[in-house]
Symmetry: C2
DNA sequence: TTGACTATACCGACCAGACGGTATAGTTAT
DNA sequence: ATAACTATACCGTCTGGTCGGTATAGTCAA
């Protein structure tokens, strides 16, 4: 068995638990069981629960920014970063892009365990605001698009669905269009 | 003492704990201490932690919808419900409207304790979507405004600030304007 | 008026179980 | 052999919840 997969397996197990059973059940025993190893094995990889959640946060920030950058590159032009943010935040339902689950789960876990652990995510805000500001489109418009995207995924992370699938798609299209059309 | 004040005192204490110390520290002992009574006294009013959080959720839904309705009435005309939603979600920083704290705290507490407890909030989505749809303005536009408002307060509930105070005000103004101007 | 009884509000000691974390011995791959 | 990894047993603490009890105020028949 590929040994280095273990750490990732642990993180994914932790994400699943948060998403399906709630932060309160994110216990070391539960994570170990879900990842298919013992608590001792889990602690070997992550010294403490805090370390585990910190790793989830790192993974989330890195994977999210990578996905934004990936979309931005195969797009280009004014507004491409904003569009990347939207696409990275709101992958097509049913797509294989499961990185989004990590984002939700990690943030919820951090918030649930200790609000201070949200810091790594909060720390990226300034950089993202700067990216929006210099994206070649109206900065206020870019920020509105970004916030609406946040509104969707954050609601969905809570299990709340502000719009059914069909309408959701139209909303995402509208957000992407707002980054292109100079009028509205 | 006015007996029913106690229940409110308990709920407010619980909100404060969630907001300042995190869900993990929302224990019955902590709530009782913060509300100025014993655990026995707390349990007398709310049979279990679950019941306490359910009460927080009820309070949140009722108070939020009341605030939306309040704003809508003293406004009127097309888009007034959408504007009410924005104003109820995003009170001026420093205003005495602390109802928003209840919304954040209750949702976080529910999510932290058991995701299923978010249900009372999720259940209102359809009604809100209907209100947006029949608000006299472009429904898609109304939904985008609502989602952006959600994006702001949900970020802030996590302790994340996507925009500094000055820019935040401009964003809120832009959202309100979007419910009035037929163009964009 | 008085005494029996009830309802409401609250107290705080206590308990069983769960939790994060430690210790340590064992296993496997190189 | 050694380092990477895993399993099991265990510990102290904390948590949600229980339970027996107290205090006060009100009702009501005699």
């Amino acid at each position: 068995m590929a040994r280095s997969d273990t750490k990732i397996r642990i993180l994914e197990a932790a994400e699943q638990i948060v998403l399906t059973r709630g932060v309160a059940r994110l216990t070391l025993d539960a994570v170990a069981a879900a990842a298919g190893l013992s608590k001792g094995g889990l602690i070997y990889h992550y010294d403490s629960k805090e370390a585990l959640i910190a790793a989830m946060m790192d993974r989330l920030v890195a994977s999210f920014e990578a996905r934004v950058e990936c979309w931005r590159r195969e797009d280009g032009g004014p507004g491409s970063w904003t569009r990347g943010y939207v696409r990275a935040s709101l992958p097509e339902p049913g797509s294989t892009d499961d990185g989004i689950a990590a984002r939700e789960a990690a943030l919820i876990a951090a918030m649930g365990n200790d609000p201070a652990q949200v810091a790594p995510y909060a720390a990226r805000q300034e950089a993202w605001a700067e990216a929006l500001r210099t994206d070649g489109i109206d900065p206020l418009r870019a920020m509105l698009v970004r916030l609406a995207a946040d509104g969707i995924w954050m609601n969905e992370a809570l299990g709340v669905h502000p719009a059914p699938t069909e309408e959701r798609r139209r909303i995402v299209d509208a957000l992407l269009a707002m980054t292109r059309d100079p009028a509205a």
